[in-house]
Symmetry: C2
Subunit: 424 residues, 2 copies
């Protein structure tokens, strides 16, 4: 068993609710068999016998969830950011992804991704690989070794991409079944997720086959939705029978039910699309940095929260340049303010507390009871040494978390626990 | 003499022009008596006798200029970011600035600011202190010790702020004259800059007195301009005789001539205001992060560049949270893309090369021949070890600079030269 029982002593902070942080200075976070037994200002006697991990003076927050990240794009993050989505895919992304037929190359770059992800504050993630089955399995092997919990997808695409990446429809489905058989029972923490790249890259026949597979296996689904104007228009032209972009996935049973699908971006989702996401429990992976880098726009996250949708954050490497979900929190607040100013003053900007919720409990919910320090939640926790960010006046725990959102980086992360197991 | 003569060997990159980077892999940057003698792919024989500083494999870029930063706000950066400008000033900024009457407090916080600025990639900056003369002199003392070149201003304000900060008009002018006398000839690298906070904080009589002082001394001026809608409306109400916000400064001779004034923000500058900035050579300090944090909007930097205005970047601590001008470059590109998408598609987004220009040569020009590796330029240079950001494929020097803009931070800065003097 990798689970453990212990008490973590430090300045605890999680979300009381989507609008409010809950800080417990000098608190005690109790983990029993990998699950949270509660966060207490004073250690209850019944836990006095557990080993104490003393992180006094340091911040202890829930592990962060990255709902949308492309592992094979990590190598070129922060490069070639002067293109919009469809051009960027053709000029930068597809040529690079075609290299993952070569397992030696894949091992080198995926190892770097896994190493940096391990050192980050992320404990859960939804990861795109490439179309290549063997490289996807290699990525899963490497991520298993990080101790993180991840859903990883071999990508499916059978149209509108370079020959080197375009799969034959039947072969794509067969390879997907082979992949699922290969990885079945192989990992403790890594699981497969069905990954049609996005509608422009997938024929109806491929989506139909993946929908059958979803129904048969009950596997979750990840894809892209309503990111960019050109993309949305392309989808409308490709699928005239669909009422809106998300309807295409839904017709094939790929839009999730009971929150089993996560859709990246949703910058341009219509009211109808939003209503269907709510009905299906579909998760929105909000990727603010990517949406700025690729000139896509700013998703109406306030509306999604108000309407009760499931929403979390994604780094969207390499549309986004930074792997940090703390940075994604700050970006989410900042772009929401610009959206309010420039686009729609009916939607109030996000607060730091709300962005923190998105990066912890909001996205964590895709993995079950994850992202809060409540009894029964899986024990994902990150210890941040924020001494570097000290102030000449006293700060509350909640203020220190706000400052960490804006200013901390991976060097401040001193310990990380996933399901109660120390992985850093 | 603090100047020196040497050759710096590394992967050099500066701006060829506002649109293009110039990378010289394995190049030689020659410094003679604190000034650049050129950047060469092969070391000319005539410099072979100079000491060689070997930074092979590392990036060498010009020192960065921060055209707008508030030293007394450094202590609360990244805190309380859920307010707009005028509320944020009253709730956060003014109470904190009033503490700078206490020199012990000032020393502690200003030292922290100076330390972090020294470790950053910034070599030149325009700094606001507070209204307190003695604290402003202390800040100048501490900044002199960093080795950076800075223009520092004792702030003037005589209305519309808390009693603890509001100066009597005559006393404000007298204290300013006393301050100028105190610091005259005291520093090698630090100089005073006249600093009316902004129109809402300054009566006509104060602006008039400062204008006289500017004419008398020839000192440069820094202030704020057209940052936020509420502020612009407030100024229009306060100064009905002015044609536009910047006209108020200009009427008192505080809008510069021959590029002797720098105005922060210019988010909402009208065509008339822009035309006058061009006529006067006024510098725009573009502060993208602050403009997002305070929900101000996005300045039309493309328009300013196209019209030939002087433009550089500012961190605007603590409207901005990050002291890094590399980060400001990335922010400038990102918000320009959002502006293009959401506000005005006639203004193309900025490129990484253009943002680099703004943070080096663009802002550096406020200090004279600064921010490029051209003969006669003052030798400000930063050495970045970007090994942490390596890629599994070869990158050009220009690509490495783009990546550093998006991903590097202060831990990557290994050496810094200001006017040829090694300060880090």
């Amino acid at each position: 068993m990798n689970t453990a029982s212990f008490v973590l002593h430090g300045d605890l902070c999680d979300s009381r609710d989507p609008q409010h942080l809950r800080g417990i200075p000098g608190g005690f976070l109790v983990c029993v068999d990998g699950r949270c037994a509660g966060a207490f200002p004073v250690l209850p006697d019944r836990y006095a016998g557990l080993p104490l991990i003393d992180c006094a003076g340091k911040l202890v927050i829930p592990g962060l969830t990255d709902l949308h990240v492309h592992a094979p794009q990590y190598a070129f993050r922060g490069l070639g950011m002067d293109l919009e989505l469809l051009d960027w895919l053709n000029v930068r992304t597809f040529p690079e992804e075609s290299r993952y037929a070569d397992l030696t190359y894949a091992r080198q770059t995926y190892q770097s991704f896994a190493d940096d992800l391990r050192r980050s504050a992320t404990t859960r993630c939804c990861v795109f690989a490439t179309v290549h089955r063997e490289a996807a399995e290699l990525l899963m092997d490497l991520l298993e070794d990080t101790g993180l919990v991840a859903l990883v997808g071999k990508v499916n695409m059978d149209r509108d991409c370079p020959d080197a990446l375009r799969e034959d429809t039947g072969a794509s489905l067969a390879e997907t079944r082979r992949w699922l058989a290969d990885v079945s029972g192989r990992y403790e923490r890594i699981s497969p997720i069905l990954t049609p790249r996005f509608v422009p890259s997938c024929t109806d026949a491929l989506l139909d086959g993946l929908g059958e597979l979803a129904a048969e296996t009950g596997l979750p689904v990840q894809s892209h939705l309503s990111e960019n104007r050109g993309e949305v228009e392309l989808v409308a032209g490709l699928c005239p029978q669909a009422r809106f972009y998300g309807d295409v996935y839904d017709r094939y049973g790929l839009f999730g039910s009971n929150g089993r699908a996560v859709m990246a971006h949703c910058v341009l989702s219509s009211e109808e699309e939003t209503a269907l996401m709510k009905e299906r429990g579909t998760f929105v992976a909000h990727c603010p940095q990517s949406n700025a880098n690729l000139s896509s726009g700013i998703a109406p996250v306030r509306r999604y929260l108000d309407e009760g949708l499931n929403v979390g954050l994604g780094s969207d490497i390499a549309g986004g340049s930074s792997l940090s979900i703390l940075r994604a929190m700050a970006d989410a607040v900042q772009v929401s303010k610009l959206r309010w100013r420039l686009q729609d003053q009916s939607l109030k900007p996000l607060t730091a507390a709300e962005a923190f919720y998105l990066g912890t409990a909001g996205g964590g919910a895709f993995f079950g009871p994850v992202g809060r320090f409540e009894p029964g939640y899986e024990m994902d926790a990150v210890v941040l040494d924020d001494a570097r960010l000290s102030a000449p006046f006293p700060l509350t725990v909640e203020e220190r978390v706000e400052r960490a959102i804006y200013l901390s980086d991976d060097r401040d992360i001193v310990k990380k626990f996933v399901r109660g197991r120390c992985v850093l």
